[in-house]
Amino acid sequence: MSIRTPLSRVEGYGSAHSGTQHFWHERTTSVALIPLTAWFVYAAIHTIGLPYEDVFVFLHNPINAIAMLLFVIASAIHMTLGIHVVIEDYVHTEGSKLLLFLANKAFGWTIAVASVYAILRIAL
């Protein structure tokens, strides 16, 4: 039994019951993605036209592998949060909204796990 008043328990949480975490995580990942995206664009263009072995060696390098891991993880979180808001804004039927939320989560996790698995197979 809590002795906090009902008001104190809900303060800062709003009608979404989750406070500002969603907004905040969208921002923190966006700040992280500024250098990570710049690096990814460099990496993507740098490897164009290279033979397979050179691309493999590039991603096998620990620094490149770590940067690629950070890029795909930050991107997966950022895009899942972003698409969640797009669904909230345009889909107003509870059933379809729930299904799309689940599809969005499944998509984000699949991209993240598939990419991380591939990077680790190359790097380790």
């Binding site: 500024i34 995206t37 990419s115």
Partner: protein
């Protein structure tokens, strides 16, 4: 007893006029483009995951990825991806500036939106030129 207003809609309720009657300030266009490019980039992550899996799988899988990426349709998709990356990157930085209170004056916001459109197209062309140069085609 009053009827439930939710079930009383024999006539469709009037909806707030939305995009069909309002002027389109460039800031509004930029905001919508930010969303559209965001969703597009999320789909683009399929290509990133595919590329990584292809490299992890072996030379044949990577060759398939490279030859599809180098086809006409592949290049168009990659150009769209490059433009979306640059636009979302630049406009995202502008959103972060807004979050900390900079750039809200109307003339500034309008000018920055237009500049971002121009820079994103120039940036995508520059990235493509760099890619062609890297591939030995330019």
């Amino acid at each position: 007893m009053a009827d439930n207003p939710q079930t009383q809609s024999a006539q469709p309720r009037p909806l707030s006029p939305f995009i069909s009657i309002y002027r389109w300030p460039v800031t509004m266009a930029a905001s919508i483009t930010h969303r559209v490019t965001g969703v597009g980039l999320a789909l683009g992550m399929i290509l990133v995951a595919w590329m990584l899996i292809a490299v992890a799988t072996g030379p044949n899988a990577y060759e398939t990825f490279v030859s599809l990426g180098g086809s006409i349709i592949g290049r168009l998709i990659l150009f769209g991806f490059a433009w979306a990356v640059v636009f979302h990157f630049l406009n995202g930085i502008r959103h972060l500036a807004w979050d900390v209170g900079f750039g809200f004056k109307v003339p500034t916001a309008l000018a920055v939106s237009s500049i971002i459109y121009v820079l994103s197209v120039l940036g995508a062309i520059a990235l493509f030129a760099w890619g062609y140069h890297q591939a030995g085609l330019l």
